[in-house]
């Protein structure tokens, strides 16, 4: 096709398509949208986006977020967790308990993992990865044989 014919074809297709009116939307669309809007409106505030939260929870959330970030920063800079919790929340005795429990859990995991020979550990991870890959492959093969070629 030479450039002149290409231009003619482009012009003709363009003219033809531009005469095409919009397609009529299904009648169900309006009802679906209104139902979805109602459903969203009925959701509790904590299941909506942050922008839709009431002012008090938003402020509280921001305060907690700042406290958490500050706490991690202090932990990273060498302040001990116990001292941090004691300084920040002197009235809350359960904070010390939570910190102790976290330490105990961390020590337990470290001891258990440390007791497993590295060969077993890496071997186990390899077996899990292989099983995952095999399952994925079986799924793909089954789909292509049973569904895609139908």
């Amino acid at each position: 096709m030479n450039p002149h014919e290409e231009q003619n074809l482009e012009r003709l297709v363009h003219q033809t398509l531009r005469t095409l009116p919009p397609r009529r939307a299904p009648r169900s669309l309006e009802q679906r949208v209104l139902a979805a809007i109602e459903q969203r409106a009925a959701l509790p505030w904590w299941r909506k986006g942050f922008a839709y939260w009431p002012a008090a929870p938003r402020i509280a959330f921001l305060a907690v977020a700042v406290a958490v970030v500050a706490g991690f920063f202090r932990l990273l800079t060498g302040v001990e967790a116990g001292a941090l919790f004691a300084g920040l929340l002197p009235q809350l005795a359960w904070a010390d308990t939570v910190a102790s429990l976290a330490h105990a859990t961390q020590d337990f995991v470290r001891v258990v993992v440390g007791g497993i020979p590295p060969l077993w550990l890496y071997g186990g991870l390899t077996v899990v990865a292989s099983l995952y890959a095999a399952l994925f492959g079986l799924g793909a093969t089954a789909y292509r044989l049973l569904y895609a070629n139908r």
Binding site: E5, L12, V13, E30, A36
Partner: protein
């Protein structure tokens, strides 16, 4: 890219809308058309249209008085449709076919020689013409239909289409050229055109 405005307009812009339902009624055909022509699937187009209007509802305070609300809706419908096509392609490519859709079978396709007639339609009423055209568009493969729709309906230039679809500029031009030829061939075969295509 219709010359006809999608909604009734006044000299000052879009007619005032009383509420969101009226707003939706004014634009739902345009939004649905955009999604349906890009996806080639009415059910998916309805899902996308719903998503577009839910986003519009979130921004309704601004859109209700905006003279560019139609453009905003069309842009969102186009973006969501392209996202949907891209996501769907990526999800099923592994399971169905390993070759890329945009590789297509164009290399094997013969070049089409086509002498454009003055019109594709003669003695065909408007509703039949519309049906023939919509059916012809649906018959195009996705890698031809999508750039064709973006070019002729959405007024996007070639380079923008290439960027949005993540393919080369040359491929976009080739796909659109072949899409035009394929569309013309379908319309001529449907018995509405004046001339025949010589493959």
């Amino acid at each position: 890219m219709n010359d006809e405005p999608p909604v009734p307009t006044t000299d000052a812009g879009v007619s005032p809308v009383a509420d969101f339902t009226t707003f939706m009624r004014n634009y739902q055909d345009m939004v649905f058309s955009t999604a349906a022509r890009l996806t080639g699937n009415d059910a998916q187009a309805e899902d996308i249209s719903q998503e577009v209007f839910l986003k519009a509802y979130e921004n309704y305070s601004h859109l209700s008085t905006s003279p560019t609300a139609g453009g905003w809706l069309k842009t969102v419908a186009t973006n969501l449709s392209l996202n949907h096509l891209s996501r769907y392609r990526n999800r099923w490519r592994f399971f169905s076919e390993f070759k890329r859709d945009d590789a297509g079978d164009d290399r094997e396709a013969p070049e089409v020689e086509f002498a454009a007639p003055d019109t594709f339609f003669s003695g065909v009423d408007a509703s039949e013409r519309r049906e023939l055209l919509e059916r012809a568009l649906d018959q195009l493969p996705e890698h031809q239909r999508v750039p064709l729709v973006l070019y002729h309906f959405e007024d996007l230039p070639y380079d923008e289409i290439a960027r949005r679809l993540g393919v080369s500029l040359a491929k976009v031009k080739t796909d659109i050229l072949r899409a035009r030829a394929a569309l013309a061939r379908i319309l001529v075969r449907s018995g509405t055109g004046h001339e025949q295509i010589q493959p």
